[in-house]
């Protein structure tokens, strides 16, 4: 199956042949070359546009997510305020949840103290009544003690009042805090959001990478 004499002759003659292309041919090639040369920067620009569009999308997404999260927090705050208002009619409007709950705790504790104190007094009284053989002195001292306890009770009442005052003071002093509270909460939100946004960026970057790789194969 080697190329034979005739084929060699064919080849030699065909090798010697020259066909002059039409004059239009170079002009066409020239035009085609110009087109591809002009295309190159355009391609780069398209790439830039793509990147810009992607960035805009990302920013919009970030803003949207941020807003959504803020809205959710505001709702939560509103809910807590409403519940605390239901619990405690004394709460001043526009007071943030932590403050009111603290107040409730503060208010509830004096009552407990008061209750326990009265219970103790009652116990003491019953003890006294159960020991009729006791000395007068002891009775006297008991009386004194009773007096002391009553004083204590009155003291407790005073304490309660003062506590109430303190809480109102506290309330007024804490009223200034919302800003710092909000900022601290926002800071926390931003941190958690930052990680989320970073994940989003990584994800989109990967998709872009894959798209670019695929484009080269196309």
């Amino acid at each position: 199956m080697e190329p034979n004499k005739l084929e060699n002759d064919f080849r030699d003659k065909l090798e010697q042949r020259r066909i002059q292309p039409s004059e239009m041919a170079w002009d066409r090639l020239d035009a085609m070359l110009s087109v591809t040369e002009n295309k190159k920067p355009k391609k780069n620009r398209a790439w830039l546009y793509m990147a810009a569009a992607l960035l805009i999308f990302l920013l919009a997404g970030i803003l949207f997510l941020n807003q959504e999260k803020q809205n959710g927090d505001v709702e939560n705050i509103n809910n807590s305020v409403v519940t605390t208002e239901k619990k405690n009619s004394e709460t001043v409007p526009n007071v943030i949840a932590p403050v009111t709950t603290e107040e409730i705790v503060v208010q509830s504790t004096p009552h407990k103290i008061k209750k326990s104190v009265t219970a103790e007094i009652q116990q003491y009284n019953s003890k006294i009544s159960n020991k009729p053989s006791a000395n007068v002195e002891s009775i006297a001292t008991n009386d004194k003690k009773e007096a002391q306890t009553t004083i204590q009770v009155t003291n407790d009442q005073e304490l309660l009042a003062s506590l109430n005052n303190e809480t109102t003071k506290k309330r007024s002093s804490i009223k200034v805090d919302p800003n710092s509270l909000l900022s601290s909460v926002e800071g926390e939100l931003n941190e958690s959001y930052r990680s989320k946004a970073f994940q989003g960026v990584v994800k989109s970057f990967n998709t872009v990478k894959v798209a670019v790789a695929n484009r080269n194969y196309e």
Binding site: N4, F10, R11, L14, R17, W26, L33
Partner: protein, 186 residues
Amino acid sequence: MKVIALHQEEKDIIAQAADNNRHAQQVIYSKHAPKMLSICRQYVKDVHQAEDIMITAFMKVFTNLKTFEHKGSFEGWIRRIMVNECISFIRVQKKVSFLEDEFFIEDTFNNIESHFSVEDIQSLIDSLPDGYKMVFNLYAIEGYKHQEIAKMLGINEGTSKSQLCHARKMLKEGINRLKNYENGTE
């Protein structure tokens, strides 16, 4: 010395053309286009189509000029691009399907005296079906091995051999017809 100088000159022009220097590109085109058009014409009967293929191939030459490593001749490199372009044109445009028969007989072709003009040769080749034509051109004119042809066309080596065999048979018939025609007119 002169050969080296010529070689250096070609290298410089290739480098310039790779940098989209239109003048250098035109120099290369003017130098190689007539021969390349002749090659394309071997595969495609229509000269205008052959020219289209040549232009497309030259586009590939210039856009890939940076990848040319100066190993082997520049003309050979361009030629390969031309041949590949012709093959892909025929395969895409004409949807050539190769008959996957591996039947072939050694044909004695040597005893035929060759006194044909290039035009006769071309018309003989033109008369071949595209599949036979491609294999014949690649084997007899370009000097590829059957293994390489099979790889280029995506066929079996045996198919390439049988295609060549069929092509030779057809050419022989064509030559006889030409001879009879010549004898008849003489």
